[in-house]
């Protein structure tokens, strides 16, 4: 199945204020393309959580959204510290975020579980000291 459209974003890791910009942009593009509202919501929430993670845990990274006829693929890649124990990180409520992040409204440890909940497939590749790659797929019902 060949890719129809790609959206590519550099996610700035130095500025919390701009975090989530790419996800807002993707949401607008998907709306413009007329995809079903529920699919758009799933994609944008999952991507937003992942984008915030890249900013608060990994000094930023890159985001690629690939649109296929039957699915949307979200790939988030960073060169941050990596995740030592992915099973632990996936648990609801587990977070290494400090108080300064919590005071900004994030760091409840719900991001990764939420990303899993809102997507049909999710894969995490992470190497400590090298970086993290999260790939998520949302199927578009036929």
């Amino acid at each position: 199945m060949s890719e129809i459209l790609n959206f590519h974003y550099e996610v700035d890791g130095t500025d919390f204020t701009s975090a989530g910009q790419s996800s807002v942009s993707v949401k607008k593009e998907l709306r413009r393309l007329g995809l079903p509202a529920e699919i758009i919501r799933q994609v944008s929430i999952a991507m937003y959580e992942g984008e915030i993670n890249m900013v608060i845990h990994a000094h930023g990274g890159v985001a690629d959204i690939n649109l296929y006829e039957d699915k949307i693929e979200i790939i988030l890649e960073d060169h941050g510290p990596g995740i030592k124990d992915i099973d632990l990180a996936m648990q609801e409520g587990y977070s290494t975020a400090k108080e300064n992040i919590r005071s900004l409204g994030f760091g409840a440890g719900m991001g990764l579980p939420n990303m899993k909940k809102y997507t049909d497939e999710m894969y995490i590749d992470s190497v400590v000291g090298v970086g993290t790659k999260v790939r998520m797929i949302v199927n578009i019902p036929g």
Binding site: F16, T17, S18, A19, G20, Q21, S23, V24, K27, A37, R41, S44, I45, Y48, E49, I52, R102, L104, G105, F106, G107, A108, G109, M110, G111, P113, N114
Partner: protein
């Protein structure tokens, strides 16, 4: 309830989105944790919060919310107002605290899950 009813009940000042005051909303939520809003909220159209940063607007946009009420007279900055306008979200602010603002809307029929009390 219409968004303009929220404004009246909370004695709130509209910051942007006047043109949408006639929209109907059926449920709301109150939180300072955007993480929790993203994880637990479903179909709530109004967000009441004491948190003031751009992520509040983006979180509301992700959740397809149509109105944000800032409590304790907190004011959104220019960047937040621009983001809200771009997304067609109504911003307003009230002097009330989060608990009181939520309670006021709740007893007037705007409850958490869109069902009748």
């Amino acid at each position: 309830m219409k968004i303009q009813d929220i404004q009246q009940l909370l004695d709130a000042q509209v910051v942007c989105g006047e043109e949408s005051l006639g929209k109907h909303v059926y449920s709301a939520c109150g939180s300072d944790m955007m993480s929790d809003v993203l994880a637990y909220v479903k179909d709530q159209a109004v967000l009441l919060t004491g948190l003031v940063n751009s992520q509040v607007i983006r979180t509301a946009e992700m959740m397809d919310m149509v109105c944000i009420v800032f409590v304790r007279s907190k004011s959104p900055n220019e960047e937040m107002i621009e983001l809200a306008k771009d997304s067609g979200i109504v911003l307003m602010k009230t002097e009330k605290r989060l608990y009181e603002a939520c309670g006021t809307l709740y007893v007037n029929g705007l409850i958490g899950n869109g069902k009748k009390i």
